[in-house]
C-alpha cells in the first residue's frame, strides 16, 4: 500500500500516467462521440487540408442574407496582375499623356478609374502594333468584367435545351453556416480521403493493443525463462542463456522482419504481428530477470523456505516473484513502449499488419509515405501520427523512470 502511495508521489510517474490516461481515455471516449467508421472515405482525392468544409450546393441554394460586408476577394485586384498593370501604366503615359506621378500601380481601383477615363475602344491609338491594340481591348474587357456588380448566376437546362436562369448570387449575398451541412476536419484527410483525426484515434487504439499484447507475450516468456534459468542454475541456466544469447546477438529486428515476411500477407493480422513482436523481444527481460533471481535465490528467506520443505514452484511464486514484481512491471512498461515502436518500424517497411480494415500508427505512416505526403507538404497526414507515437513512448518511459525512482532507493532524491 505504501509503495502505491509512493508511486503516486513521484512527479515523473504522475506526468507520464496522466498523459497515458489522456491518450487511453481519448481512444475510449472519442469513438462513442464520433460513431462513424474510422476508415470511411469521406473525400475523393488525396490529402485535403485541415479545415471546415461547407456543402457548396446547399450554400448556393440556401436563402441568402444581404449583408454589406466587404468582399474578401477584390475582383479588380485579382484581375490585374503585375504585367497587366505595367502595360496599363505605359499606355497611360505614352498614348493618353497622363503624368507619371498621377499613376499608382498598387491601387487597382484608382488604376481602373484612370483607364476608364482615358481609354476609348473606338479610338485607333498611334504608335502601337495591332497585337498590342487587341491586347488593350482585352484588358478593357477584363476591367469591365471585374467592375460589374452582378455576381454569379445559377442556371439549369430547360426542356428545350436552353439555359434558364434559376438564381443570381450577388456580392452582398451571405448565408449562415448553421443553415448548411458542415464537416470539420481538424486534421484534414489522408490519401484515401479518410478523416485523419478519427483514423488516428482508431490507430492509436490498435497500436496500444499491439503494444500491450507484444509486451505481455515478451514479459511472460522472459519472466518464465528468467525465473527458470536463475533459480535452477547449472545446466538449465546454461542452456537457456545459450538460447537467449543467440537471440541477443542476432538483432531482433532482423528476426522480426524474417518472421513477418515468412508468415505471409494473408495471416498477418494485428494480433499476429503483436505476437511476432512479442516472441522476438523477450531476451533482455530474461537476462535481467535471471540476474535478479540469482541474487535472490541465495537469500536467507529463500533458504529457510527450502528448509521448510516448500516445493520449487511455491518458492518461486511466494519467495522470489513478489521481490521482483516491481521490476517486472517496469520491464512490462518498457516492452509495451518498444512493441508500439516495433510495429511502427515494421509497418513503415511494409511488413506490418496486412489489413485495410483497421489502421495502426505504423500503417498510417506507411500510407502517408507511399503517397508522398512528406514531399507535397501534407503535414497533417504524418505529423500527428509521429506526435502520437512520441507521446505514448514518452509517457510510458516517464512512468518507468518514476517507478524506478520509487523502487530503487539509490535514485531517490
Amino acid at each position: 500500500m505504501n509503495t502505491i502511495k509512493g508511486v503516486f508521489r513521484s512527479g515523473k510517474f504522475i506526468v507520464g500516467f496522466v498523459i497515458f490516461i489522456l491518450i487511453l481515455g481519448t481512444c475510449i471516449i472519442y469513438p462513442l462521440i464520433v460513431t462513424s467508421d474510422p476508415l470511411a472515405m469521406l473525400g475523393q482525392g488525396n490529402f485535403f487540408p485541415p479545415g471546415t468544409y461547407i456543402s457548396q450546393e446547399e450554400a448556393a441554394l440556401e436563402d441568402p442574407y444581404t449583408l454589406q460586408l466587404p468582399v474578401e476577394i477584390n475582383k479588380l485586384d485579382s484581375a490585374l496582375d503585375v504585367g497587366t498593370r505595367a502595360e496599363i501604366q505605359s499606355f497611360l503615359i505614352k498614348q493618353a499623356g497622363v503624368a507619371e506621378s498621377e499613376i499608382d500601380v498598387t491601387d487597382a481601383e484608382a488604376l481602373a478609374k484612370l483607364w476608364k477615363d482615358n481609354y476609348d475602344p473606338e479610338v485607333k491609338y498611334q504608335g502601337l502594333t495591332s497585337a498590342k491594340r487587341k491586347k488593350l481591348k482585352r484588358i478593357d474587357a477584363a476591367i469591365d468584367n471585374a467592375m460589374r456588380e452582378s455576381g454569379t448566376m445559377i442556371a439549369s437546362e430547360g426542356e428545350d435545351g436552353a439555359l434558364e436562369r434559376d438564381k443570381t448570387i450577388r456580392d452582398t449575398d451571405y448565408i449562415n453556416t448553421k443553415d448548411v451541412t458542415r464537416k470539420v476536419l481538424p486534421l484534414g484527410t489522408d490519401n484515401f480521403g479518410r478523416d485523419v483525426l478519427t483514423e488516428l484515434v482508431a490507430a492509436t487504439k490498435s497500436s496500444l493493443k499491439i503494444g500491450l499484447v507484444a509486451g505481455l507475450v515478451a514479459t511472460a516468456i522472459g519472466l518464465f525463462l528468467g525465473l527458470l534459468s536463475g533459480y535452477l542454475g547449472g545446466f538449465a541456466d546454461n542452456l537457456i542463456m545459450f538460447i537467449t544469447n543467440l537471440f541477443t546477438v542476432i538483432p531482433s529486428f532482423v528476426i522480426l522482419i524474417l518472421i513477418s515476411y515468412s508468415v505471409g500477407d494473408q495471416a498477418r493480422g494485428i494480433m499476429t504481428v503483436a505476437i511476432i513482436i512479442g516472441i522476438t523481444s523477450w531476451p533482455w527481460t530474461t537476462r535481467s530477470v535471471r540476474s535478479q533471481v540469482i541474487s535472490l535465490r541465495n537469500r536467507d528467506h529463500v533458504n529457510l523456505s527450502k528448509l521448510s520443505g516448500h516445493s520449487m514452484l511455491r518458492i518461486i511464486f511466494t519467495d522470489i516473484l513478489p521481490y521482483i514484481a516491481s521490476y517486472v512491471v517496469m520491464a512490462l512498461i518498457l516492452q509495451i513502449s518498444s512493441g508500439i515502436l516495433a510495429e511502427a518500424q515494421l509497418s513503415m517497411i511494409g511488413l506490418g499488419p496486412a489489413t485495410t480494415k483497421t489502421a495502426t500508427l505504423g500503417l498510417m505512416m506507411q500510407w502517408a509515405m507511399n503517397y508522398s505526403a512528406h514531399l507535397n507538404g501534407s503535414w497533417w497526414a504524418y505529423f500527428p501520427v509521429v506526435f502520437m507515437i512520441a507521446f505514448i513512448s514518452f509517457s510510458l518511459n516517464l512512468m518507468n523512470t518514476g517507478l524506478d525512482q520509487v523502487f530503487n532507493p539509490q535514485l531517490r532524491d
Partner: protein, 285 residues
C-alpha cells in the same frame, strides 16, 4: 600439525572409513570449490570432522574462512564438490526432494541476519504455520495450533497474541531472532545449525538469545553446531571447538584444549585479538 597428518592418513585410507558410534554428522574430505576453469575459489578444503550427538560444537574462524560455506553444505543447500557427509554413520543421501525433506526434518538453521530471514511479503504466522505443517500438525484444529504457537512464543518470551497478523518489518531484530528460535522449538530438529545467530544483535539481546538456545538444547537434547567468529563465546558454550582457517580445520578439540592451550599460531592470534577489559588491546599482534 598432528591434525594435518591425521587428515592425510584418512585421505590415504579412504577405502575403509570408520565413523564413531555416537557421531550424528561426520565429514570426510569435504571440499567446496566455487567457479569453473581458471577462476576457482577453494572455499572448503578437505575437512574431516565428527560431530557427536548432544554436544555443542563451535566452528571458529575469521571472515572468509569458509564457515558459512561448510554450514550450507551440511544443511544440503549447496552441492558438495568432493568428499562425503555422513549422517548417523551412513553416507547422507539427499538426491531427491522427498529425501531432502526428510533430512531437513532433522537439521534446521538459524541464520546470521534475522532481517533477511523472513519473506517480507508474508505475515510471520506463515513461518510458524510452515513448522506445524512440517511436523505433520497442519491438519490439527485451529485452536490447538494456536496453543502450540503460543507455547513456542512464550518459550522465547514473546507473546503470540501480540505478534500474530504482523509483518516481519514491524518486529525488532531481537524479536525476529527469538521468533527464529521459537521456530526451532516447534520443529524440534536433531541438529541445529546456528550461523552466527547473535552477530547482528546488540549485546544485551545476545545473552538472552544464547540463554534461550542453551535452554532449548537442554529441552530437546539436540546437537548444536555453532558457527562464530567470537572465540570467547565459543569457549563459554561449547563442548568441542574447531578452528577454521582458509577452508581447513587447523585445530580441534575440547574448548579447554583449543582455547586455553592453543597449539597453532592462528589460534593464538585469534585469541589475542579478543579485546579484554582491564588490559591494553594489542592491535599489532
Amino acid at each position: 600439525m598432528e591434525l594435518q597428518q591425521q587428515n592425510q592418513t584418512t585421505q590415504q585410507s579412504s577405502s575403509k572409513i570408520e565413523i564413531p558410534e555416537n557421531s550424528c554428522l561426520s565429514g570426510r574430505g569435504l571440499t567446496k570449490i566455487f567457479g569453473v576453469g581458471k577462476q576457482t575459489t577453494l572455499a572448503v578444503d578437505h575437512v574431516d570432522f565428527d560431530f557427536n550427538r548432544g554436544e555443542i560444537i563451535s566452528i571458529v574462524g575469521e571472515s572468509g574462512s569458509g564457515k558459512t560455506t561448510l554450514s550450507k553444505m551440511l544443511l544440503g543447500l549447496i552441492s558438495v564438490t568432493d568428499g562425503t557427509v555422513y549422517y548417523n554413520g551412513k553416507p547422507r543421501d539427499i538426491s531427491t526432494a522427498a529425501k531432502k525433506k526428510e533430512y531437513w526434518k532433522d537439521i534446521q538453521p538459524i541464520f546470521q541476519d534475522p532481517f533477511s530471514s523472513y519473506n517480507m511479503f508474508y505475515k510471520i504466522d506463515a513461518v510458524l504455520d510452515d513448522c506445524l505443517r512440517m511436523r505433520g500438525a497442519g491438519r490439527l484444529p485451529e485452536d490447538q495450533k494456536t496453543a502450540m504457537k503460543t507455547e513456542a512464543c512464550s518459550f522465547v518470551n514473546l507473546k503470540y497474541a501480540e505478534l500474530t497478523n504482523k509483518y516481519p518489518f514491524e518486529l525488532s531484530g531481537g524479536q525476529m531472532q527469538r521468533l527464529m528460535i521459537a521456530r526451532i522449538f516447534l520443529l524440534k530438529p536433531r541438529i541445529l545449525m546456528a550461523d552466527e545467530p547473535t552477530s547482528m544483535i546488540d549485546a544485551c539481546s545476545r545473552a538472552t538469545i544464547l540463554d534461550m538456545l542453551l535452554k532449548l538444547r537442554d529441552e530437546i537434547n539436540m546437537t548444536v553446531i555453532f558457527i562464530t567468529h567470537d572465540i570467547g563465546l565459543a569457549y563459554y558454550i561449547s563442548d568441542k571447538v574447531y578452528i577454521m582457517e582458509h577452508g581447513r580445520f587447523v585445530e580441534s578439540g575440547t574448548a579447554d584444549e583449543c582455547i586455553l592451550h592453543p597449539q597453532q599460531d592462528y589460534t593464538k592470534r585469534l585469541i589475542s585479538d579478543v579485546p579484554k577489559i582491564y588490559e591494553k588491546w594489542d592491535l599489532d599482534a
